[in-house]
């Protein structure tokens, strides 16, 4: 006989805690040594997941909500945090047809005092202890899966798209050089560094200085993909131009994304560099080369993982996207994630909003 369900509580399982523990132990044994994520069911009730971690000679256990009701119950139980953000574009609008990285823009969170001051062409890792990230609550991954629940946002002067991303790794001070710049990868990415995890995307922005008259184009970019293989980005005619005449990053409007660029008019057509056919993402960048020099200007490469998007179809009005009931995406927000924002088109006004992070 099943125990009656109490109001406000999920029905009790007919299996005891000992049965559940035995099921979890058997599942852990099955996945031992295999990088496989296995859901554990007992009596049609999903208890959670086990996943093998052979590199560290362990098996991990974590739970996610069994259904929407359980997820809502987790939220009602306080397993969430809501963080507001504000990006102050008080100086007025930059080009409105470019993608902009708002990480270095003033506001809340405030940007680092020297956002692109890292050692030139050297990987540096970012986590939630580095200034500039939107806070997302405690570390929970040993027991829970953290995700975005709700996003609300407004941009004062223009309709736009905001992309929330995890900024994982950064290479500052890269010259526009016809010689190959070799990256120093002493520090591995702190997240998304497991084979087959989908990796990160490559975002190229202005850095300490902008770009000159140009034209400059990407000639070669080498990386390690998420399968651990060395690859190079495809060099496509008219698709790898670096946008000319861009301003160095500003605390009042962020950093313009310089490549890819259409080459025809002032527009950047996408936020990330196109990868080799079938590659989902990268684990690091290994080298960089351009078709021409561009004075003393420098660019920054950021390796990022997109997490969620919100469309804001009208300026000056708050819009919401529910990432549980409306868009079921469930991209994981990792412990130590350094959360920031991309904006397209570039924000002609201030950006306000909040993000709700939930874990279950």
């Amino acid at each position: 006989m099943r125990a009656p369900a109490l109001i406000g509580l999920l029905p009790k399982s007919k299996y005891s805690a000992v049965d559940e523990a035995r099921a979890i132990r058997l599942a852990a044994f099955a996945t031992m040594g295999c990088k496989v994520m296995l859901p554990v069911y007992l009596g049609r009730k999903r208890l959670g997941y086990v996943v093998g971690d052979p590199e560290n000679k362990r098996t991990l256990w974590f739970a996610g909500a069994a259904n929407i009701t359980a997820l809502r119950a987790a939220i009602a139980g306080g397993q969430y945090t809501r963080s507001a953000f504000f990006k102050n574009n008080s100086a007025g609008g930059p080009s409105t047809v470019l993608w902009y990285d708002l990480w270095s823009e003033q506001g809340d969170p405030a940007p680092p005092s020297s956002p692109y001051g890292g050692t030139a062409s050297t990987a540096r890792a970012l986590d939630n202890t580095v200034i500039g990230g939107i806070q997302h609550g405690p570390d929970v991954s040993t027991s829970y899966f953290k995700q975005i629940g709700l996003i609300s946002a407004s941009v004062s002067n223009i309709q736009t798209l905001l992309t929330i991303y995890d900024r994982v790794l950064q290479y500052d001070g890269n010259p526009y050089s016809t010689s190959t710049t070799t990256m120093t990868n002493t520090i591995p990415p702190p997240r998304y560094n497991t084979t087959g995890d989908g990796g990160m995307q490559i975002m190229m922005t202005v850095g300490l200085t902008g770009t000159g008259a140009g034209p400059v184009a990407l000639a070669a970019l080498g990386y390690t993909n998420d399968q651990g293989s060395a690859e190079t980005v495809p060099i496509q005619t008219n698709q790898n131009t670096v946008a000319p005449n861009l301003t160095a990053f500003g605390t009042t409007f962020g950093a313009e994304i310089v490549c890819p660029y259409s080459g025809g008019s002032s527009n950047a057509v996408g936020p990330f560099i196109c990868l080799s056919q079938n590659d989902l993402g990268v684990h690091n960048v290994t080298s960089l080369q351009f078709s021409a020099t561009d004075g003393t200007n420098k660019c920054t490469l950021a390796l990022v993982r997109p997490i969620a998007h919100i469309v804001i179809p009208n300026s000056g009005v708050f819009w919401e996207t529910d990432y549980i009931a409306q868009i079921m995406n469930f991209e994981q927000v990792h412990d130590k994630a350094h959360i920031s924002l991309l904006c397209y088109p570039g924000p002609a006004g201030n950006v306000y909003g909040s993000v709700e992070f939930v874990w279950s």
Partner: protein, 362 residues
Amino acid sequence: MELTQHTERSYSKRRLTRLRMNFTVGEQTAFQMAVEAIRGLPLTLPLILDGKFIGLLRSENNSRAVWFSPFTDTSSIMTALYANQRTGQIWYKNVAIFSPLATRWYDLWCVGGDPQGGSYTGTAATARPLDNTVVGGLAHGPNVSPLNKHIISGWAHAFGQPNVSYVYDRVLTYESLPLTSTTTTMTNTLPAQRYNGSGLPGMLLFPTLQTTLSFAGSGAFATLTYVDQGGASSSALVTSANSGIDTHSTNASNTVPAQQALNNSGSFFHPFLPLAAGDTGARSITSFTVASVASSGLMCMVLMRPLLLVANSSSLNPSQFDFLRQWVQMPIVVDGAHISMMTYFANSSSPWFQGSLDFVWG
């Protein structure tokens, strides 16, 4: 129950042990009986216990039984998402230096961006199957069979261009087709790798302009024969009203999409050749003739399967889509799918297209 990873190992005692802990006693008994029932038979058997659908059991190669459970509810999709059986891909197609003809369908496959533009490298009038290893297709994650991969959400934007777009699987092409006075007979040494088999729907026929076509007068198809979804020879319903061939003055390239070839009496909204009554698609094209000879230019016949139809009614605002609850489609993306886009341009503005697609499998 779901298995999070399909292995190539044959059905083994250890595998049974792994399954046993996740089944109830009743489900386990039903499962064992079903395995015995399909042994030696090329069958896919649904497993139903107490009126509840549990999953599917398929016998393969007479040597193993493969179990999988398609998504049955939102909770099963949540399970797959939490297990990271998902990927999200941002894409763009840069047509910014090209001015299209208004109210035409254009195939964006050859246009550069992310994914890269594809190239017409096939042998003339020879079936060229495409999969996700061929340059030009959008990455969508690993092969997942026997699990199903679905598109569940995304957003799209075309700056300055309200538009409607197909996201499609480019399965088979016949490239570099001259329009001559003689019958063009296709070489079909290589079959389509998807949607090609008993019970499968086949593909739609989408003729495109690969390079500039010039006619003395107006162009038109006269006949087109194909192998239908069931394997029978069939003929497209070619009439003077629906099978005109248009011309365009610009060659398809890295920055120029391929315009639709069909000119339906001055209307360009329908880009597909009409199939014979009762046919859902084609497995291959056998031959075709034209009513008017083209003095120059080449056509490309694309055999494709539409996955999504997305409308973007604003020229400035991106649109966000949910294919799980809002438009309950959850299109299935078959292993090896070569995903691309085609768009109906509303005006002659030079646009760039971008968006994202989220995939889940389970």
